[in-house]
Symmetry: C2
Subunit: 332 residues, 2 copies
């Protein structure tokens, strides 16, 4: 009996909200490897908001995900066969094998992982792309100074929770914005933010004002929409906004910004960024984040869906904010 | 008969649009000067969009204009009495004496002007604050490279016309946005822009697309509203937007921005600025601009209202875009 690989392909592009019908599960034989190649059994798949953008056939920073091809995504796993001297069976690796159980590579775009102090799946979370995203936006765009106030939206998420903890270590007052009392409690109690505003509580502006008595100097933007407007009203002169995501508009909802004028009146710098365009900072960022995680000084939460089959529902939940912390799919 | 000074005071704050009733003309004796002081007869008053913001009692980059005090504003004039060794009768000076015929100073915040190659009123226009505003936003925020496309809104205005001509000298494709066929003709024929889009012609998006076949790399923003949205849709990756003014919203009109997402997808840098906070660049900018004007290499237009009494109507016209180029009030 030949062992089979399972894959999710993009079956159709979403009209508005993503549905499970946009994906198609297929079985294929586990690929055979040739000279110089490596076969990896994936242990975890990373689900990330950026995937929603790639499902559209729109001009964006990344090429669209192609129809009828394996959904793209970051993975960690273990080498199970190797004809490449750089990788041995048993090596733990980070790769971009996407929504499938097995991946084959010539060894390029794969990185060996040290899992002695850091759990393997953390390399998809706070020691991986999301964590480095937070590290970059905070350190290279917001550039906070001690005593300043930094606000982070999607504060309980894989990116936001890192941003807040790093800003706190720099001596900032750190305020999160998250959806629901439970997430807000974790933001302050687990991640150590000074305050958290529950945007679902219905008085976003007043609550944000109360939580930022000295205004806002830096904002790490994951959300857009009314949260962005509320923050723009509280920005101090020469504030910096790192635009990392605008998840509120990912389903094509109109999402007008009413407070653009604050950019002028407060002489703000607003900068969008994609962390994959700044690879020169990844080694430093990964080293710092791994050190903090190994020391227990950087907390993180994970939501783990079990089995590849659960990936579409888990992804839809992520887009609706149902996850808590890093959304992973466990593949073994 | 004592000679009288005439002044316009801010009588009331506008509710929405500015009206002539917001100003009050008063006559006062020409001030006497004490030891170290200088008396100046103003020749020209500068009218600028920033004055609208100061008429509101709102949190902004500058303190509000106080009620019942002389309207603030830049002036050029001639020293008519001096008890200050640094200034002689007959000296031409730049100052901030506001909406009045005479100004008195201890000599601080006054600058002597060389009018041998540059007309005195140009120090209020393309060799003054508006020109330096354009110089700063272009050189320090947009930082255009040869071959890039730079778009300028309010392109026929005192700031925009300078931005476009400087960008053209740097080897950029330069596209203006202006209101009406006459202004657009001047933007291309007098100021030498490669193209100009008439936003009043009713097909802003299509016209802007046609004028920017390679997208937009730099945008100098004076207007906001639908022009901003149309530009955001055309921005290239890593584009830069200098936010200098948002005149479309100055009267309190709601002015939502629908294309904020472009900041993320195109990794834009959007930066607001106020040129008075960057005085360290003024000497260099003024020197370069005066040289170009003296050489006849920098063109400008002026709209000159005659007599202090005409200032309120001229200012209202400026806010409605009725002026053409630098709006001045001739006081002699």
């Amino acid at each position: 009996m030949t062992e089979m690989n399972k894959q999710f392909l993009l079956a159709s592009r979403p009209q508005g909200q993503v549905s499970t019908g946009n994906f198609r599960l297929v079985e294929r034989p586990v690929p055979e490897i040739g000279e110089g190649e490596v076969l990896v059994r994936n242990h975890y798949l990373s689900l990330d908001p950026y995937m929603r953008g790639r499902m559209d056939d729109a001009r964006s920073y990344a090429a669209p995900q192609k129809l009828d091809e394996v959904m793209q995504g970051g993975t960690v796993g273990e080498v199970v066969a190797s004809r490449n001297p750089a990788f041995a069976v048993g090596d733990k690796v980070l790769a971009m094998f996407g929504w499938q159980l097995y991946g084959k590579s010539d060894g390029s775009l794969m990185m060996k992982l040290d899992t002695s102090r850091v759990p393997i799946q953390a390399y998809l979370g706070c020691v991986g792309m999301p964590g480095i995203t937070g590290w970059y936006g905070l350190n290279k765009i917001i550039e906070p100074k001690a005593g300043e106030t930094v606000v982070v939206s999607a504060a309980s998420g894989a990116v936001g929770s890192v941003v807040g903890q790093l800003a706190k270590r720099k001596g900032c007052r750190v305020v999160g914005v998250a959806g629901g009392a439970e997430k807000c409690r974790a933001v302050t109690e687990e991640f150590g933010f000074d305050a958290c505003v529950d945007y679902k509580a219905g008085k976003l502006r007043a609550d944000l004002k109360a939580a930022t008595p000295d205004g806002i100097d830096g904002y790490f933007e994951n959300v857009g929409g009314e949260v962005l407007d509320a923050v723009l009203r509280r920005m101090n002169a020469f504030g910096r906004i790192a635009v990392c995501g605008l998840i509120a508009g990912y389903d094509g909802n109109p999402m007008p910004t009413h407070e653009f004028r604050s950019i002028l009146t407060n002489r703000l710098k607003v900068q969008g960024f994609i962390v994959s365009e700044h690879m020169e900072f990844w080694p430093q960022a990964r080293r710092e984040l791994a050190q903090l995680v190994g020391d227990g000084a950087l907390k993180y939460r994970e939501t783990i869906a079990q089995g590849l089959e659960s990936a579409p529902e888990a992804f839809i939940g992520l887009l609706k904010g149902r996850n808590f912390g890093k959304q992973l799919v466990k593949l073994i």
